[in-house]
């Protein structure tokens, strides 16, 4: 089975802090994704990556950046955390080599910005 692991289940940070959310997958998947999930808004794509050191903006990239230095690891960075970034953050990975494949998700990080 695909295993997508997010480093923290719950995280509390303060406004203005730099926040790192880490995600690791163990299936040699090419594509990785970061979403946030908010009540009433569903899943929204922040950034994705289809290769090491490659990144693409999703639908709501403002206030975020990402890093993919190794194939198995995709990090989401909140440069200066704000209260409107309080959310559930979900990482996903996808095989990506041929045609469409399902994305597989981690269990999420619930981030609170105070």
């Amino acid at each position: 089975d695909v295993k997508v692991t997010q480093s923290s289940r719950y995280l509390v940070k303060r406004t203005g802090e730099k926040v790192f959310l880490e995600c690791v997958q163990d299936m040699d998947h090419e594509n990785m994704f970061w979403y946030r999930q908010d009540p009433g808004l569903g899943l929204r794509l922040i950034y994705f990556s289809y290769d090491v050191k490659m990144k693409e903006k999703g639908d709501i990239p403002e206030g975020y950046s990402v890093s993919r230095e190794k194939k198995e690891r995709f990090s989401l960075i909140l440069e200066s955390a704000s209260t409107n970034q309080t959310s559930m953050y979900l990482c996903a990975s996808e095989l990506g080599r041929e045609g469409n494949q399902p994305q597989h998700f981690g269990d999420g990080t619930r981030l609170s910005i105070l």
């Binding site: 289809y50 045609g99 469409n100 399902p102 999420g108």
Partner: protein
């Protein structure tokens, strides 16, 4: 438990009955569809997928039906069990797009 959406459509079924969850998708060019299950406090879990060259696909206790004419997708769960309680949502994409478009979800509750 944690809610993944406010005012989600809710489907309540008796344990042992069959459940049918519906999804209207938006893009007539979409050619790949996925159903996910999300339990409280967990990430979405892949259930089953279907490509647009198929009308029906079956898995273990689940069946997905695709009607491209009316852009409608459904998930049928046979003999619903308490462990099926979750939010279910569909996702669609176009070949090569690398991005999924997710529906808002339906909350399935099981009555004993």
């Amino acid at each position: 438990g944690e809610s993944v959406g406010l005012h989600l459509p809710t489907l309540s079924v008796q344990e042992g009955d069959n459940s049918i969850i519906n999804c209207a998708y938006s893009n007539s060019a979409s050619d790949y569809f996925i159903w996910y299950k999300q339990e409280s406090g967990k990430g979405p879990q892949f259930i089953i997928d279907i490509r647009s060259n198929m009308d029906k696909r079956q898995g273990q206790r689940v069946t997905v039906l695709l009607n491209k004419t009316v852009k409608h997708l459904s998930l049928q769960i046979a003999a619903t069990q308490p462990g099926d309680s979750a939010v279910y949502f569909c996702a669609e994409t176009v070949e090569g797009a690398q991005k999924l478009v997710f529906g808002q979800g339906t909350r399935l509750t099981i009555n004993p």
